[in-house]
């Protein structure tokens, strides 16, 4: 035994030595640490740079393509500007068919903005109730809501259409708005966050001071839950903004279209009506601006909300 260990040790030691020598020979020992971290940091930076490029190039292309007229679109470098006609193109887009694009943009803002506000309010109340009140069936309800997170919105679109047809609500504002104010994920997030950030003692104190439940919720709890609410709002805003299948199935009247659906409709007829190509490009570029603005404005809250929501 001992010999075996010994021989192992001896056979191992020469293997260690050359390695150690090789390392120390390559650079002074003191430089070892920073140099390694520089390398790994460099690698990480490279990977991130590649991904950044991967995500940004399409947007760059969109910006460049939107600034060209139709002829230059195919004959000039796709990643660099030719004659800069962006503002002319935008003016043409807004003028086309009495500014129907502007109408779509406003519709999207209404569906997504108002829808997300109502969805946030409903989700926070529901999540708060599930977190702070004890009542029979509480866990069952919560599990059903959790199950709702798993059902893709597209799978519900057709059943919703058939339901809305019965009550003659298809092709109305409500057909797109009502399904948008439901956010199972928002309920989940609100519950988790309410449990973590609204202390029971505070609620007790508030009740002792004579505040009703509603007042407690709106004056005390909702402020504590604010980061989560911003997160829910942002999630829902993006979801509604990008929701495409529901409007596709529900809407027939051009003046009700959100911008995604309108652009899709135009894009589907480019073969027959090639002049729409520029409008689709410029329209797509403009349609991401509200999303970027919302994101930048709310990013601060959103990060804290998501962080605490997912950790606790």
């Amino acid at each position: 035994m001992s010999t075996a260990i010994g021989s192992d040790a001896t056979s191992a030691s020469p293997a260690v030595n050359p390695k150690g020598e090789a390392r120390s020979g390559g650079a002074p020992a003191s430089g070892r640490g920073p140099r390694e971290s520089l390398l790994s940091r460099g690698g990480a930076m490279l990977v991130m740079a590649i991904f950044t490029l991967y995500f940004l190039v399409p947007i760059w292309w969109l910006l460049v393509a939107s600034s060209k007229d139709r002829g230059q679109l195919f004959s000039t470098n796709p990643l660099w500007f030719a004659d800069f006609k962006l503002f002319e193109n935008i003016a043409n887009l807004f003028a086309y068919r009495d500014g129907v694009y502007l109408k779509w943009l406003l519709n999207s803002l209404l569906y997504a903005g108002l829808g997300a506000v109502v969805a946030t309010l409903l989700a926070s109340m529901c999540g708060y109730a599930l977190a702070k009140y004890r009542f029979p069936g509480r866990e069952t309800i919560f599990n059903v809501v959790l199950g709702g997170v798993l059902v893709p919105a597209t799978a519900l679109a057709l059943p919703l259409f058939l339901l809305f047809s019965r009550v003659q609500l298809t092709d109305t504002f409500w057909a797109v708005f009502l399904p948008s104010v439901v956010s199972p994920f928002g309920v989940y997030l609100s519950r988790v966050f309410a449990e973590a950030s609204v202390p029971d003692e505070l609620l007790e104190a508030s009740r002792l001071d004579g505040a009703g439940e509603l007042r407690t919720f709106f004056t005390v709890s909702i402020r504590l839950m604010f980061p989560a609410l911003v997160t829910v709002f942002l999630f829902q805003f993006v979801t509604i903004w990008n929701n495409f299948f529901l409007p596709l199935i529900m809407l027939r009247s051009e003046e009700l279209f959100p911008v995604t659906y309108g652009l899709y409709a135009w894009n589907s007829t480019i073969n027959q009506f090639p002049e729409l190509r520029t409008f689709v490009l410029v329209g797509s570029l403009l349609s991401i601006i509200p999303l970027i603005i919302t994101f930048l404005l709310l990013q601060r809250y959103w990060r804290t909300g998501l962080g605490s929501g997912s950790l606790k």
Partner: protein, 444 residues
């Protein structure tokens, strides 16, 4: 983007499945009250709903609304048929709130017919009487090859001819081909100059079907009882072998159509001609703007010297959906939209619609020279082609699936791992299977 696409596909599949089961159940009940709709005026003011994706069709409808206060038409819109509107029609039929009228391309009509989604306009005297105003073959498209049925009023058509770069052909001393044999000879010469005579698009099965149409072939036939599937008929295989030969010998390019690279190939002069429909005139002028003034149009190359056959690519009709309460008014509007000079002029100006009526082809805007084509009155050529389209070509009831299957095979052929003939054989079999799966009688 990719996610959206996948989601859309998934959802379309689900909804298609639902629609199928729904339709099966629905047809049982509708069989009970089979009282054929009569074509009588309502005797009161009516409002019709009309779905179309053609930009600018509102202008024509506005004219109608002004002149007909008792029959008002509301335009509804959406993406082009195959991009979602057809599926919406089926959903709406299922929910019982379909519009009164809808835009339906010729190749989709049999599908709606088989699903019992359309009113038979043969009940309306005016419609039947209007038959002579339309080109024979466009009427064949809406009557689905039958005598006593009419499922829509033809709107536009896509007779095919040869767009070619007259400057390049002339500079290189190559004669404009009048037969497909000459076309191949020209292809060899052009390849020697470093260009391609044309692009064979593996995604445009409709173009290929147009070639088969020109060659006297049919893909479907309906004898009133069952469907015959003839994707592998002699004419169809002859066309496939011809193009397979060009692909194998690298005599044609194979870019997917309507992409940037495809536009660029035409814009840069790499590709010299395009066998396309009348609406292709706009595709070239917008996709290859640098080549303005250098294009001309000639009748399509023929299979036999001195022949006079033309194919068709595209075109659509205005159909009246099952369940409308206003068949008479709907038919009246559809007729006006597609026969009156004011409507046809408006549609031609706003959306370059190429009418399906004899008189429509004589519109002043369709007899003028076109600047992009060196001042040539190109629509005269298409009017000639329109008169040469075989009237008996019929589409099948499962075209979406047939296109998809054949297109898969064509993609393989373009990349060298299969042939166009294989693709047609596979399409033949899968089409028969699809018909059987929907309990549509099919002959084998």
């Amino acid at each position: 983007m990719r996610h959206t696409k996948r989601a859309v596909t998934a959802a379309l599949l689900t909804s298609a499945a639902l629609a199928l089961t729904g339709c099966a159940a629905g047809s049982d009940t509708s069989g009970g009250d089979a009282a054929a709709a009569s074509c009588e005026p309502a005797g009161e003011d009516v409002t019709l709903t009309f779905t179309s994706w053609i930009p600018g069709i509102e202008d024509a409808v506005a004219m109608w609304n002004e002149e007909n206060p008792d029959i008002q038409v509301e335009v509804q819109t959406g993406p082009s048929g195959n991009a979602g509107t057809y599926q919406n029609f089926f959903n709406q039929l299922e929910a019982g709130n379909a519009p009164d009228l809808g835009q339906i391309e010729y190749d989709a009509l049999p599908n709606f017919r088989v699903q019992d989604g359309l009113e038979n306009l043969a009940a309306c005297e005016d419609v039947v009487a209007a038959k002579d105003q339309f080109l024979d073959w466009t009427w064949g498209q809406v009557s689905l090859g039958t005598e006593d049925e009419v499922y829509g009023v033809p709107q536009d058509q896509g007779p095919m001819a040869l767009f070619y770069r007259s400057d390049l052909f002339e500079q290189n001393g190559i004669a404009v081909p009048t037969t497909w044999d000459e076309y191949r000879d020209a292809a060899v010469k052009i390849r020697e100059k470093g260009g391609y005579i044309t692009n064979f698009s593996q995604t445009d099965i409709n173009q290929f079907a147009g070639f088969v149409w020109q060659a006297g072939g049919e893909w479907f036939a309906n004898d009133g009882e069952e469907w015959n599937v003839e994707l592998t008929s002699d004419a169809s295989m002859k066309v496939a072998e011809y193009w397979q030969d060009l692909i194998e010998n690298d005599l044609v390019s194979t870019y997917p159509a309507w992409t940037d690279e495809w536009n660029n190939a035409y814009n840069s002069g790499e590709v010299w001609s395009w066998n396309s429909a009348v609406w292709g005139a706009n595709s070239i002028s917008s996709g290859a703007p640098d080549t303005a003034g250098k294009w001309s149009v000639a009748l399509a190359p023929q299979w036999e010297s001195g022949g006079n056959a033309a194919g068709n690519w595209g075109g659509s009709s205005i159909a009246v959906f099952k369940g409308t309460d206003h068949l008479y008014e709907a038919a009246k509007f559809a007729l006006w939209l597609n026969t009156s000079e004011e409507a046809l002029t408006s549609l031609n100006q706003t959306a370059a619609i190429y009418p399906a009526t004899e008189a429509g082809l004589e519109l002043p805007t369709l007899t003028e020279g076109v600047e992009f084509y060196g001042g040539q009155p190109i629509y005269d050529v298409f009017a000639d082609a329109a008169a040469q389209v075989n009237p008996d070509f019929v589409w099948g009831p499962t075209m979406t699936q047939t296109y998809a299957d054949v297109s898969d095979g064509f993609k393989a052929a373009a990349s060298g791992s299969g042939t166009l003939m294989d693709a047609l054989e596979k399409g033949q079999q899968s089409t028969i299977d699809a018909l059987k799966a929907q309990s549509i009688p099919v002959a084998e």
